[in-house]
């Protein structure tokens, strides 16, 4: 049960959402956009999330798009993970999101919610980083389009008052050879100790990770090494490990040494799965 009182609004247009948000801000209230609610409800219960005003954006039609338009797949921020799996547009994204939480939760968890999660995993972002997805963001100056890397990079997220409307991926990037590997502490359901998604585009290997550092990442330096055909695969992996952009996490799910061990294997498996680098 959530012990604190908060005001709850349902917006039906982006404009309305923004007005509600600005009104709350003007009154100096802590305000938050709300989508599937799985994180807000469970965190608010434990005192790890707090808001005086909550604006539900799930009824905004723009946030519920799930279609291909002019060579671009549009995924609304309010689309649930299960809806993405059922739609069948984007195999790699499906592989990734169907391993997030459990089936019942995926009926509620939205892709926008996953990308904006307080937790460090945000695994839905992995395919988007690889596909150079664009985000449609609605903020103070109206709509803007930004590459996903620019918005969610390291600990960076959306700016105060901004709202993710859609995720846009060029259709040419949807069906590329791809693989996703997720290693958990033990159970199939669980947070990743290491998870990684990879694709082959223009004969180049692209790879992005979650669970390894404090936030998911795709690194140009790592990809350059992994594509260096003058090196043996084990040499590439060894070198790539030295380019991990940050401290390797150590927590209840696994030590940093174990994560390193898994990272090596996951990369080996990625080469094997994609049949490249021979």
């Amino acid at each position: 049960m959530i012990a604190f009182d908060f005001e709850y609004y349902e917006a039906t247009t982006l404009k309305e959402a923004k007005e509600l948000y600005e009104k709350a801000q003007a009154m100096d209230k802590k305000v938050m956009y709300y989508n599937g609610g799985t994180e807000f409800i469970t965190f608010a219960r434990k005192g790890k999330a707090y808001a005086e005003v909550v604006i539900n954006i799930k009824n905004i039609p723009d946030c519920n798009l799930l279609e291909v338009r002019d060579g671009t797949l549009l995924i609304g921020a309010s689309v649930t993970l299960n809806a993405i799996v059922n739609a069948g547009f984007y195999p790699l994204l499906e592989d990734v999101v169907k391993r997030i939480a459990d089936h019942t939760s995926r009926n509620k968890i939205t892709i926008g919610g996953n990308l904006n999660s307080q937790l460090m995993y945000k695994e839905a972002i992995l395919p988007l980083l690889l596909a150079d997805a664009k985000l449609e963001i609605f903020g103070e100056e109206g709509i803007r389009y930004v590459p996903v890397q620019e918005v969610f990079n390291k600990k960076r997220t959306l700016k105060q008052g901004e709202l993710l409307v859609t995720i846009q991926v060029a259709t040419e990037n949807l069906q590329l050879p791809s693989t996703f590997i997720k290693r958990t502490k033990m159970s199939k359901v669980g947070y990743p100790v290491v998870s990684a998604a990879a694709i082959i585009k223009e004969e180049q290997f692209r790879i992005a990770f979650s669970g390894v550092c404090a936030s998911p990442f795709r690194s140009a330096a790592i990809e350059k090494i992994l594509n260096a055909s003058d090196l043996q695969i084990d040499q590439r992996i060894e070198k790539a490990l030295r380019e991990i952009p940050g401290k390797i996490v150590e927590d209840v799910n696994g030590s940093s040494a174990y994560r390193q061990f898994l990272l090596t294997q996951v990369m080996e498996d990625m080469y094997r799965g994609l049949e490249v680098g021979k």
């Binding site: 959530i2 012990a3 434990k46 033990m186 159970s187 359901v189 100790v193 209840v252 696994g254 898994l262």
Partner: protein, 781 residues
């Protein structure tokens, strides 16, 4: 007991609570709402060890709806089931993170929770005791300064004042020192596992009101309703009869609901608001760390054999992490000692079992009562000893198995009746796991398939006067109501007890109405629903009640039928003449007294009353452990086959086998399911479950986001369960208790199979891939 053909006992009858549960209509304790009911919420400690300097409640009082705030000064006394060492609300000192410090009572639950967050507690930190080894050191901070003055509630608890030893239990059998010197091969091994949680689906909940007549009415999800009455009597100075405890069906307990923790708090809360009805339900997080958990366990085992591999001597040192309070951990300390050898005949035994205080959440009973832990240590050692001796691990077990004529570590005599047939269990388990195919094979997929096995035993250390009673009343249609205080925890006890009555009265199970709820005012006293004792104790009581009813039926019928009672038989809803079954009278004619055609009536209603009390149990001698602690030892064998990828250490449990000698099995379906559930629980514990503590001794994984358990779909692909049914002469229809047994050998069997697979000795839990990787890596270096 009689040997005739049985109609209900031995049949896979459908559980009588199945429909109601499948329909989702069962109301558990917390489901109950009533107008005017108040809600309580706990303020809990954020320090593991500290003096309470102040508890500021002014801000909390400002929250609308707050009716009362109760702090430790309200009741500065200690309670506990074995050693009274725990104030219901922390008083002067806190000893673990999560300990109740204050109670808020408010009109609604969110107000209580809001107010709880506004209580400001000021602590003066004390040095923390992080683990049992540290607790054992002479220089360790002392957690209970008044240990020497605490009241012993029951016997066989030996606290050592000025230390962190809540109890020390000694077993001295034979002459260990001399025997050890004569051994041709010896082994010494150390094991360690952390505290963990019960994870019952239903979190703990209690409601209390004090009515204007002074009756205290408690509703609770508990395994110990009569203990609640006893505690209220002892500590709140209430008449035992003024405390009425109601228990609906309980949503899983596993020993965790044996402790009396919430009920006294809810009573104090109700008292503070003039006796109004107050509900106190724990959140999942509180259920994991405020309420008691499972013990941690450190064991050192030394075994010595002669040149034939016969065990001559065994030495056992157990350090049990009881957390901040001793609760049932003090009893587990004793239970682990008295069964320390496992089901093996060892003439010379030396055991020191210590219940140690640390600044962890406190521990209580958990299905198996220390036996899964001690079995892990014993059975891992047996496997390693077999390896050192170059013997087949099963053969080593076979030649050392305990048999009638031997004695237990406490020198209780093992007889044909009080032990099952371990040899038969071993033989069948070997077959079920296909041991002869090989212990370790590399499959075509490159993965290793390996097997591991564990013997186990357990006697239930009930109170020496543990007992149960039952009442049978009859309806006008001749059908029967069964009332007794055995609690339905999901284990199926009410179905099994109904079957015993149905069998004895030769009626159908559907004609026995078993009252699912327990009410201490109308149900006869029963010790507790713990220790796998209910089929035995309550089973004997309901059997006796049925016998008693039969006597009454025959007496009235003998007048009606004008014959001797000895000539009559009861069955099929009738009382009839043995030589001529067509000549008889229907039970419905007798149920409420028999009325002759002229209106004269005789006999009165049939009320069957039955009871059973443990016989010839004794406490243990303080210096040697000598005594007869329990009514029987059930023995069994469990085995596991795993398939592991040696590259990344992920594994799958292909097969899990249980062979148990449980005496007569009353219901093979529910018994099989209980074994499967037990194995699942033991495998989950062994594979993944563990509280992870940070440096302040706060549980980091105190919710189900982070605390892992095996999930549906991760159970073994194949579960086989077999029963050897050596009848127990004492038990109802020859049955023994089996509730806990499925869990006991599973952790050891899993660890043995993985140790075989990886050829590395695994001495700790849980067996997550990271731990396997780490052990293998250390081995390589």
């Amino acid at each position: 007991m009689e040997q005739t053909e049985r109609t209900s006992v031995g049949q896979p009858e459908q559980r009588i609570d199945a429909v109601e549960k499948a329909a989702g209509k069962v109301k558990f304790t917390d489901d109950y709402q009533a107008p005017g009911m108040l809600h309580a919420k706990l303020v809990t400690s954020t320090e593991a060890h500290a003096y309470l300097q102040s508890v500021e409640t002014a801000a909390a009082w400002k929250v609308p709806g707050v009716r009362a705030i109760i702090t430790g000064e309200t009741f500065p006394f200690h309670i506990g089931p074995i050693l009274a060492d725990r104030p219901p609300l922390a008083y002067e000192k806190v000893r673990y993170i999560g300990e109740p410090v204050a109670i808020i009572v408010a009109d609604s639950d969110y107000q209580a929770k809001q107010a709880a967050s506004k209580v400001v507690v000021t602590y003066k930190k004390l040095p923390i005791v992080h683990n049992v080894q540290q607790a054992f050191e002479a220089s360790a901070p002392v957690i209970h300064n008044d240990l020497g003055e605490y009241t012993k509630i029951i016997g066989n608890v030996y606290p050592v004042a000025g230390t962190n030893i809540a109890s020390r239990i000694k077993i001295r059998k034979g002459d260990f020192g001399t025997a050890w010197k004569n051994c041709t091969e010896t082994i010494s091994e150390t094991y360690s596992f952390n505290l963990s949680d019960h994870v019952a689906l239903e979190t703990r909940s209690a409601r209390v009101e004090i009515n204007p007549a002074g009756k205290v009415i408690v509703h609770a999800c508990t395994q110990s309703p009569f203990t609640i009455k006893k505690v209220f009597n002892q500590f709140f100075n209430l008449d035992v009869g003024s405390v009425i405890v109601h228990i609906p069906m309980v949503g899983g307990a596993f020993g965790g609901k044996g402790t009396v923790q919430l009920e006294p708090l809810a009573y104090l809360a109700s008292k503070a608001v003039g006796g109004r009805l107050v509900k106190l339900t724990l959140s999942r997080e509180e259920d994991m760390t405020t309420a008691p958990c499972r013990i941690g366990f450190d064991a050192t085992i030394k075994l010595g054999v002669d040149h034939n591999g016969k065990l001559l001597a065994g030495q056992y040192t157990f350090l049990i992490d009881s957390g901040a309070y001793s609760d049932q951990a003090a009893g587990i300390t004793r239970a682990a000692a008295l069964d320390c050898t496992g089901p093996y005949h060892i003439p010379n035994v030396w055991c020191d079992s210590y219940c140690m205080y640390t600044n962890h959440p406190f521990a209580t009973s958990f299905r198996g009562y220390g036996h899964p832990e001690l079995t892990f240590a014993v059975e891992r050692t047996m496997d390693k000893l077999a390896k050192n001796l170059n013997m087949c691990p099963i053969e080593l077990r076979e030649i050392n198995t305990i048999l009638p004529g031997h004695t237990s570590p406490t020198q209780a005599v093992i007889t044909k009746n009080n032990i099952g047939d371990a040899q038969k269990c071993i033989a069948l388990a070997k077959e079920r796991i296909a041991w002869e195919e090989g212990e370790r094979l590399v499959g075509e997929n490159g993965k290793v398939r390996a097997k591991g096995l564990s013997l186990f035993w357990k006697t239930s250390t009930t109170a020496t006067n543990a007992q149960a009673g039952a009442i049978l009343t009859f309806e006008a249609d001749g059908k029967v109501n069964l009332n007794c205080a055995a609690i339905e925890l999901g284990q199926g006890t009410k179905t099994v007890l109904g079957q015993i009555v149905a069998e004895k009265l030769k009626m159908k199970l559907e004609d026995i109405h078993v009252t699912m709820e327990v009410n201490t005012q109308s149900d006869p006293h029963q010790w507790r629903t713990v220790a796998s004792s209910t089929t035995f104790l309550a089973g004997r009581a309901v059997y006796a009640a049925a016998e008693n009813a039969i006597g009454q039926l025959k007496k009235t019928a003998s007048t009606v039928l004008q014959c001797a009672e000895e000539d009559l038989e009861v069955g099929g809803g009738r009382v009839y003449l043995k030589p001529d079954p067509t000549f008889g009278v229907e039970i419905k004619e007798l149920a409420l007294g028999y009325k002759f055609p002229n209106g004269h009536s005789i006999g009165g209603q049939i009320v069957g009353v039955g009871k059973h009390i443990q016989r010839h149990l004794t406490p243990m001698d303080k210096n040697t452990g000598f005594g007869k602690p329990g009514p029987w030892w059930s023995v069994g064998v469990q085995a596991v086959e795993v398939e592991i990828d040696e590259r990344d250490f992920t594994y799958k449990i292909l097969k899990a086998v249980t062979v148990l000698d449980g005496g007569t099995i009353i219901n093979p379906m529910t018994a099989t399911q209980q074994m499967r559930g037990g194995m699942y629980m033991g495998l989950s514990y062994a594979a993944i479950e563990k509280f992870v503590f940070d440096h302040n001794e706060e549980v980091e994984n105190n919710d189900l986001r982070q605390y892992g358990t095996l999930r549906y779909g991760e159970q073994p692909e194949q579960y086989t369960v077999d029963f050897i049914e050596t009848p127990a002469a004492d038990g109802p229809y020859g049955a023994r208790g089996i509730g806990e047994y499925g869990v006991i050998g599973a952790p050891a069997a899993l660890a043995n199979s993985l140790s075989n697979a990886l050829q590395v000795e695994l001495n700790e839990l849980p067996l997550v891939p990271e731990y396997l990787w780490k052990m293998k890596k250390e081995r390589r270096q």
